[in-house]
């Protein structure tokens, strides 16, 4: 197993997610059974006690995410995993986590919706739910892996971003990627960067809505911290009608993400400076673009792509650069058009934006279908 650059393993996406979470320092997990996210809970239930962590199966998703937020306020890195319907149930509490600036990681293993839809089949229908699922003004952070290796890497990154910016981070995975079994290289632990939240010094009293990310005390440390999802000042004291206090705290939770977009956004790009056709893709769908690009190049069509590893905040800059060169941009998605509207928003004036959509039954978009779109017109 071992080799000098780390450990090689052959794991399912769910297992990689759990191992990465543990390496990142996750020591609390609460979840509720739902397909196709159960493997994450099951691995966590087995693995967490071995490292001294607590696993709880709660009575529903509302309880699960609530317990996760409570754990985080005890200074413990915490995570939950679910799928579309459970993710919907969690939304109110996710908003509470944004407002209370609580670091936590939520894995959404997307399945076919709306409603119960097709519980075990792959889809990408939760893109906008990940961005706008709860009420009010906030900036969501959402990462989107397309391989087992990347599930591992982005899970660690999700915890790091959550801790660094004191915010919930959503891993927007999908059924197929999470169920893939692939080779994985786990780097040596000393080469993995682990970020921990900033702690307050003794006597500090300002824990919320600061210009830069506020230090976060833990329960039981003697800070008498008042945590509330209602509009609050920097001490956590509620102001339920004051417009100035509200603007201050909400602008702060938005600005800490907005001002750090370049740090948060990660994409894989190819040929974006020299292409006639562009592709913007993410998640399992992006696995089909490589072959399509090769085939198109064999036919003399230069294709570039931006693969979104960060979905939210939307990677505007690389998509704009792609649009400066490409005449048209194809956006394949396993929904009826969600991220395509973001692409149109940032690139619609400079390039033709072409959706390529497929839903139902977990049928993936194939390289041939993307190739046909590339060669069209």
């Amino acid at each position: 197993m071992g080799c000098e650059k780390g450990t090689r393993a052959f794991l399912q996406g769910s297992e990689a997610c759990v191992e990465a979470a543990l390496i990142a320092g996750c020591r609390f997990f609460a979840g509720y059974p739902i397909s196709p996210a159960n493997e994450i809970s099951e691995h966590m239930a087995a693995r967490l006690p071995k490292v001294g962590g607590v696993f709880l199966q709660m009575e529903d998703e509302l309880a699960s995410i609530g317990a996760v937020v409570g754990a985080s306020w005890c200074g413990v890195k915490a995570m939950t995993a679910t799928s579309g319907p459970g993710f919907s149930l969690m939304q109110e509490t996710i908003g509470w986590a944004f407002m209370t600036e609580t670091p936590c990681v939520i894995v959404d293993v997307q399945r076919v919706g709306p409603g119960t839809g097709q519980a075990t089949k792959c889809a990408q229908g939760d893109v906008m739910q990940a961005r706008w699922g709860t009420h009010g003004d906030y900036m969501a952070v959402s990462l989107c892996p397309n391989s087992v290796q990347e599930i591992f890497e982005l899970t660690i990154r999700a915890f790091n971003l959550a801790e660094k910016y004191r915010t919930p981070v959503i891993i927007l995975a999908d059924e197929t990627t999470m169920h893939l079994r692939e080779h994985l290289l786990i780097p040596p632990s000393e080469s993995i960067e682990i970020v921990n939240r900033k702690k307050p010094k003794a006597g500090e009293q300002a824990f919320f809505g600061l210009e830069s990310v506020a230090p976060m005390p833990s329960i039981g440390e003697g800070f008498n911290v008042a945590v509330t999802g209602s509009t609050h000042d920097e001490r956590g004291v509620r102001f339920t009608a004051d417009p100035t206090v509200h603007r201050r705290v909400v602008e702060a939770i938005n600005n800490k993400i907005r001002k750090n977009i370049d740090d948060i956004v990660e994409v894989e790009s190819y040929n974006i400076e020299d292409c006639r056709v562009g592709i913007v893709a993410y998640g399992i769908t992006s696995r089909a673009i490589y072959e399509a690009v090769d085939e198109a190049e064999k036919r003399g069509v230069k294709v570039g792509y931006v693969r979104l590893k960060t979905l939210w905040p939307f990677p505007e800059k690389p998509v704009q650069r792609l649009a400066e060169n490409a005449e048209k941009i194809i956006v394949p998605e396993m929904n009826l058009g969600q991220i395509v509207n973001e692409v149109k928003r940032v690139a619609g004036c400079t390039a033709e934006v072409v959706p390529l959509n497929k839903i139902g039954g977990g049928e993936l978009i194939t390289p041939e279908e993307i190739l046909d779109k590339i060669l069209e017109g």
Partner: protein, 276 residues
Amino acid sequence: MREGFSPSKYLRPGLRFPFCPGCGLYVLSDTFLRAVYELGYDDFRKFCFVSGIGCSSWIPSPYYLADSVHTLHGRSIPVATSIKLLRPGLHVVVFGGDGDIVGIGMGHFIHAARRNTDILVIMGNNMIYGMTGGQVAPTTPLKTRTTTTPYGSFEHPLDAARLAAVAGANYSARWTTAHPKELKECFKKALQMDGFRFIEVVAQCPTAYGRRAGFKDIGEMLKWFRENAVPVTEAEKMGEEELEGKIVVGEFVQRRRLTLVESVYAVLKEAAQKYA
């Protein structure tokens, strides 16, 4: 010599409770603080408070000089659950109203009792949704006029204290704000126990309940509590019809069942030995 009881040393300086004049929650909070004092605690260093949404939930947050987590409507118990498991040395106390704990939060309430989660849940039961202006609650007595039952409530009210006992709590009791002495002893007893402990405090809401239900003043509401209170032991001998409109008070259960903290830490110990 220890200083005498003063509520102010447990309260965050510069803030005042927002409750209406005559609200039962003043008595509830004061009685709780006295119990804490009499148990020998001069501050809240050994406590964490968790609450939901509603008037009762505002008691600890942010007014108690303590760590307090003010959660969403109905969601205090799951948040308190993880806090207790990760900070087992603290008293984790949940404050909530009837709407919060046994309306929207009912599922969590029953499951916490079933798990025997080591938290103390104090439910201020004013039999109404007070903060939102007086809508009918799951605890509103039959035929009561509220803003959403202008012809009188047509649903049976819930017996939360009995439900907690049946669901598996180590301790469950009910008193009213007309019984502060008994209530204080309950708080003291519950704070010295493990497992799920539930104390229901029937508390007057003169603004949203009393006015519409036809009470002239707070004294009349307290008189209603006193005159209709029936001890558990007596209630057991009474028929359902006789008990209609009565407030059964006292202890519904007191026992020593395996608790969630004990179970979870047993698992952790086993795993540590096995995989060390």
